[in-house]
């Protein structure tokens, strides 16, 4: 078994890149990561993209991206797991390097969400949920979040106002992050006043639609001769029930709890041992459910914890210093790769934004929908 490192990272600003194609975005991120890693060969090009088929109309994307960036001949592999595709790609890449089947793997996450009108994109986004149930009703991607948020507020007697501190915290982080989409601060009171999408969910509880690409080079530590930004300590994942309401407690993410238990068994490292974390806050309520499923906040207390100042840069763990899905943005298939690239830079001390000096452990957390699958990637300082 080989030790696995992140030897290079590339991150594009999430935004409306009307003048660039999906492949242009992928190339820009890939070149930045390859230049930083300085590897002289790439065995695999793994592409994570969730909506490219429908938004761009391309199948076999990994092969086309390989040749577009001049890596013709590399083994191409496209990986898809809905919103959690990015961490799935990192997990596959890590396994290939760890097993010795590959020395260097380029992982590119890319998605383009501004090719069509937002109505069409939201229609595509509802496909992250179980199509057997939700394709008939066509109510979009925010409805389930609305059901869970109301359940949370009623069960734990949490107010709308308390839940508004999360988006405000995310914007305060994104303001300092040069590659975030929404680089401005908001007051918690603005969340309640913004457009209602799926009551009680408002526009500011949700993520913006933006294009994005991020890349990492994952390498055998010996091959890159001890260089690299961070070590990949472990990857974990788990599938879950097809919708959260089949769980005894819909407000816990069963697949995340299962993936987390596996991670603790593998490494002995707990969420409270982590210095910096990036979590999948597709909605405010998703963030609360993740923080409670990982045991970082007590049941029903995450919103109060955030309102009292927990999870900012001086907390352990500091959460979503990028601004999270909420404000850095959520270019679906790219998001997990963003997380790993950002956390690698946090550990290497090269992250340009709110950062934690001397951070030694970092965790990326992704969930598809509300837990049909969950994935974790644990990184350590080199």
């Amino acid at each position: 078994m080989s030790d696995v490192v992140i030897s290079g990272t590339g991150i594009l600003k999430v935004g409306r890149h009307y003048s660039k194609s999906l492949k242009d975005l992928a190339a820009e991120a890939a070149f930045e990561a390859l230049d930083e890693s300085q590897v002289d060969s790439v065995d695999y090009v793994i592409v994570s993209s969730s909506l490219s088929y429908t938004e761009v109309g391309q199948l076999g994307l990994a092969g086309y991206i390989s040749s577009y960036i001049g890596l013709t001949g590399a083994r191409p592999l496209s990986v898809e797991d809905g919103e959690a595709s990015g961490l799935a790609a990192v997990e596959v890449a890590t396994s290939l390097v760890k097993s010795g089947l590959a020395d260097n793997v380029l992982v590119v996450g890319v998605d383009k969400l501004t090719e069509f009108t937002s109505g069409r994109v939201y229609e595509d986004l509802q496909k992250i949920y179980d199509s057997e149930v939700f394709l008939l009703h066509k109510v979009g991607h925010a409805g389930l979040a609305g059901l869970l948020m109301r359940m949370y507020m009623e069960k734990y007697k949490v107010s709308r106002e308390e839940l508004s501190y999360w988006p405000a915290l995310m914007h305060s982080h994104a303001k300092e992050n040069p590659h975030a989409m929404l680089r401005f601060a908001i007051d918690p009171s603005a969340v309640e006043k913004s457009l209602i999408i799926a009551d009680p969910i408002t526009l500011l509880d949700s993520f913006p639609l933006g294009d994005g690409a991020a890349a990492v080079v994952i390498s055998n530590e010996e091959v890159v001769k001890g260089k690299g930004l961070a070590k990949v300590k472990a990857c974990s994942s788990s599938s879950g029930l097809p919708n959260p309401f089949l769980q005894e407690d819909p407000l816990k993410i069963g697949s995340l709890i299962s993936a987390y238990q596996k991670l603790v068994e593998m490494t002995g490292i707990k969420a409270s041992d982590i210095d910096v974390m990036e979590i999948h806050d597709s909605f405010t309520i998703t963030a609360m459910m993740i923080l409670e499923s990982l045991g970082l906040s007590k049941e029903g207390k995450a919103a109060k914890d955030v309102a009292e100042g927990k999870y900012g840069k001086d907390s352990k763990p500091a959460v979503n210093l990028s601004g999270g899905l909420k404000a850095r943005g959520h270019p679906i298939g790219a998001t997990g790769v963003y997380m790993v690239a950002e956390l690698s830079r946090q550990l290497a001390g090269t992250f340009k934004g709110v950062s934690v000096p001397d951070a030694s452990r970092a965790l990326a957390v992704q969930v598809n929908g509300f837990g049909s699958s969950s994935r974790l990637v644990l990184l350590e300082r080199r």
Partner: protein
Amino acid sequence: MVVEDLSVPAFWRRRTSYYRLVAARCKKCGKLHYPPGAACPYCGSRELELIELKGKGILESYSVIYSAPGESRGRAPIIIGVINMNGLRIVSELTDVFPDELKVGIEVEPVLRRMDEDSNKGIIRYAIKFRPILVSKSER
């Protein structure tokens, strides 16, 4: 533009779960799930029996969707709810109710309602929705 997510055969295959509330009960662990899978998602047993959910349900949560995507835009606001029937929670649309009449804990019952029309194929789609059970003031 019409995005045809649901094909004619797909709609036909799912008619039982769309038109009748047929759930699966695991013969090994006894747990219910909906719509029926190929095995029990809780214990993995393939010994399932189909049962039709009947009677009334309790509304456990709801959301009023104002910003419905694409084709559904004309139907907004769309109200969806989590309904507990025979101990199984299902997500469905609510009908015959105004948003300000909704409350967690009210009793609801299933009814068959028209969803929409597929303009390309001429299919009129129906689905089960839930409506509040009307209770007269003296019964309250």
